[in-house]
Subunit: 342 residues, 4 copies
């Protein structure tokens, strides 16, 4: 059994880690922290877990004292993991769900996160945990920077085309997310009376997931220097789901079938990627680790549509998928979560 | 022209007063206050009003210095009106949308609002502004305590039966409200990810609207001493709307038609009350000052269903309806707001 | 392995049976029918199941030819099971999710379902499948009439009080349901533009679940003749969830704690019943087989609040719970479905 | 008074025309047709209008017999207006809300609408009713083809840039719409259980509004031949609202302020266009005739965001705006519909 700890268990990342790990046949959840709820039962904060766990939240321990654990998930607000991670015992594998360790370029980090990175040395040990692309490195890693939710959608949608050198020019990524992407704390932009009938864009030209996408894609694409990325996010009034509409100019004209064949070639052995005719729908991936991808091609444009659940494949699910790889377990263990209709 | 002021214009009560008063043909909005937004344009807080007003928020003035106004609406958080109202010039008519002046029993106030009332002397000048029931007193009033949203629904649903002495025993009022009833400030219970798929009860046996309903109904009912009221509220994941299901034991058996005739007798001249066959639906009253009422009768039970918009007939709309009466204007002026389909 | 068949697999009952049974460790789904989709892959109708099954829909076979199966679930439109069930082989256990076999009184059936029952002889073999109440009979049964969604909520909310003889007089059951209760076929009352902002009552005094509730409760209550039931349903604009607010007059005054102790006495060993302080919320039971129950007591009223997922404990989940009992399997097998936050 | 008729008054276009025209100070609604509801009160189909009209639906009359009317609105399903319009008396002004007369190219019509156009001769009398662009022609017109909802958003978002020759290359229009865009008839894609948690793309590369946009834009742009348009629509689970994210490559680099100045130059006198800092939000235009436009610029990309209500500025509101022009009335008459917060 893998003894796992969740640092930051009261947010939605932690909530979803618990939903998955409590039922993972090879994991024992040995620690869940939440300073403001220390001493309280986990199901007092996550009533969905009543009858399913007797765990209680604990205060954040000294990170250096966690050597009893085999694996630690950091599901903390952005900025906290980079304070803690360098002190974790080297024997403990760590998966960070925040953006703290995704960027290997300190200048980019400062530009997009607004502060100096205090632990770039530690950052170099982190492997970017986009499972389907970096599987082999993840297997060997002890530190994982789990990708952002938007980034996962965009990277998986573009990987086959870019890795094949089939894209040129400007890529337009029009992304949409549900409200759970804003986290578990109430805020003006998630106030129900305001949000329920809204749709709007935000973080124009400045979303912090853009540089991690560029970093990943440039590493897999032979022609990235000929591409550029416009990355724009919007809010949908649903709770869960990322939907990406990605507009690409193909380096040479491609038919619908050619695009489909390319995606099948890259992804036909990927259990969590489902290639769909027509458009995917966030409705069919909610609560699951699946990524549904559709596509279309005209003379000079290929559109790729990607749908995933921002809290599962976009966060906790992919984190567990990476943990499975790191511990040599079958990758889908604990993650075959069926969605529902309706 | 009536020179009107809105004290507390940044919340939903103030927002709806503005939506109505800015288009009222006999009103000039001369003042809108919001301390935290003082100096800002009103449409920076209420973007729906862009192009419709150039007003700016002002700080709360000395209430005694408002003698230039003809009418003041107090749309302040509960507890503030009772500090301010006693200082308002006697020449200025005042309509309070909060619960501060609804109860004429200091002990009840303390029980349900959790504090001593500092201005019970001033309270005696307030008329309870349930327009359809207290119209004549409202015409003569200079101070109005505007009814609560739940209370308006329940009182209008019960008035014909109770005033006719046709009810005995326990009345069950199962009430439901949309999220805008919680106000414009973000809070845990209106966090979109939590609220969007929820339905739950709250304030069991302790809602502060219960005593105002009992006070009003006891004043109109010859047999109130033989009745009791169970008042239970719930949250619906919509933005606007109150729906009340009221279960009554008739003093003598009544048919569906007899109940209908009774409601028609009481309300056929009431423009804002619409009697419907079957159930009303909050969908058809949203954004309007209408109250839709349906009913059904079996051998020993009469059910009355009431739907209204908590922010219009349940707050700002009824306040303006009362203002119209106080100033001798046709009652529906500025309030013929059509709902929409869909 | 139990060889199971699902007759009527394209609706929401069938969809949820598949979501559960495909992962049930002791079940093999050997047959799924849907005449209008015969020959098509199941995941073409339920895209949530893509990658999770290769099953195809079949046409409805001759019921008499199903002797290869161990268990059949009938998830058909109301009125079809009563045509088919009498022809099923006696060796095949059958669980009907419709209302066809719930009532043992032919006259009541005709009154509420609007037609003569063609198979009252067969009906006598059916056990009413309210697991927590009828567990012992279910274990011995070969035919189960699975309870209605509203009925399950109401019966479980009232059982402890009624079985203890603690209720007198009129019981008011104010029930609310999400839109999936209307089934998978598009209809005017589930048209999104109409439904999204609505709340309304329907089937006043005539809901077909009322007689099954009265039948069950009269069988467990020593004082049912002194009680009567008002059963009123409403529509909430969410997809999943039943919420029942049940208002009861206690035969003698009860405190909050006394009510709580009673519920704990009856339900503390029931895995799928969770007793909650305050109100339950449909948000915490969605997608699960849990029933969350809260309560409150005043001098002369006890309110019981019940929340469950209409498609799981209110349909497919309870059906599988009953199957487990019928086959001597641990009752919760395949049903420990965690809900999610959010 | 303008005697107006609405042909097809039971759908959402008709519903919104009624909501506006019944309160238009210079219009008398003299006729509303709906064959399947002939003889029924209008408020039996549109309960929002109870107490606001006593009109009844009539059967579709012989179009040639409508000479008593001054103006006819055709709010019919696509394909019916082109059968009727040629028979309308020449003295009656007509505004068609469908797509029947928008395209002046018979081949394009066939390609996108799937049938031969039977009345291209009549089509030549129609002016495309994009008010802000074609105002002068509309004033002189007797026949108006009212723009599509997506087309209105896209055309108004692009007009200043294209008319100024500031765009080159591919334009990506990522469009999103609420469910009311699918009309008042229940259908699988608007079934509430399916739609409430969904977001998906549809009509990939084939939406019928694309050619009308290309037709309009090519007529105003000096450099249209250097541009191309990718037009992609998606479904949002809200009732009302169009949101367009339009990605453009500027012919020469433009700053944020330069784009803003351009939009101000074109639109500062347009009452119904509101230029906003940051992103617009469909929440602030719902139920109104306003179009909210925001923008952003980077080195090589300009993004324009447009929000409008698909049933008002995208249909009935713009139709009335055009009627006002055609009859020499102040353009905003009857259309100063305030939105609401929330």
């Amino acid at each position: 059994m893998i003894k796992a700890g969740i640092l930051g268990g009261s947010g939605y990342g932690g909530s979803e880690l618990l939903r998955i790990l409590l039922f993972h046949p090879q994991v024992e959840v040995a620690l869940v922290t939440a300073n403001e709820h220390a001493g309280k039962r986990v199901d007092s904060v996550h009533p969905n877990l009543a009858k399913l766990t007797n765990l209680k939240f604990e205060s954040m321990p000294d990170p250096g004292a966690l050597e009893d654990l085999d694996c630690v998930f950091l599901a903390l607000p952005h900025g906290q993991a980079m304070e803690i991670a360098p002190s974790l015992p080297r024997t403990v594998k760590a998966i960070d769900l925040s953006g703290d360790f995704r960027l290997n370029d300190a200048a980019k980090f400062k530009q997009f996160y607004g502060r100096e990175h205090p632990a770039m040395e530690a950052q170099r040990e982190f492997v970017y945990g986009l499972t389907e692309v970096n599987r082999n490195q993840i297997k060997e890693a002890t530190r994982i920077a789990n990708p952002g939710c938007f980034a996962t959608a965009l990277e998986l949608g573009l990987f086959p085309l870019l890795a094949s050198g089939l894209v040129k020019g400007k890529i337009i990524a029009d992304m949409k997310t549900g409200s759970s992407g804003s986290g578990a704390k109430a805020a003006a932009n998630t106030h129900h009376p305001k949000r329920a009938n809204s749709f709007y864009a935000y973080k124009v030209f400045e979303h912090q997931h853009q540089p991690e996408v560029e970093q990943l894609l440039s590493s897999v694409s032979p022609q990235w220097s000929q591409c550029s990325l416009v990355f724009q996010v919007h809010s949908i009034p649903v709770v869960r789901g990322i939907f990406a509409s990605i507009y690409v100019t193909p380096a040479k004209p491609m038919t619908h079938d050619e695009v489909g064949n390319l995606f099948r070639e890259f992804y036909s052995n990927e259990f969590f990627i489902r290639l769909v005719e027509g458009s995917p729908d966030i409705n069919w991936v909610k609560n699951t680790n699946f990524v549904d991808i559709g596509w279309a091609a005209s003379d000079d444009t290929v559109i790729v549509f990607v749908a995933l659940d921002n809290l599962v494949k976009g966060a906790a699910g992919q984190a567990v998928q990476n943990m499975n790889l790191m511990f040599g377990i079958e990758e889908r263990t604990g993650l075959v979560l069926p969605g529902s209709n309706p």
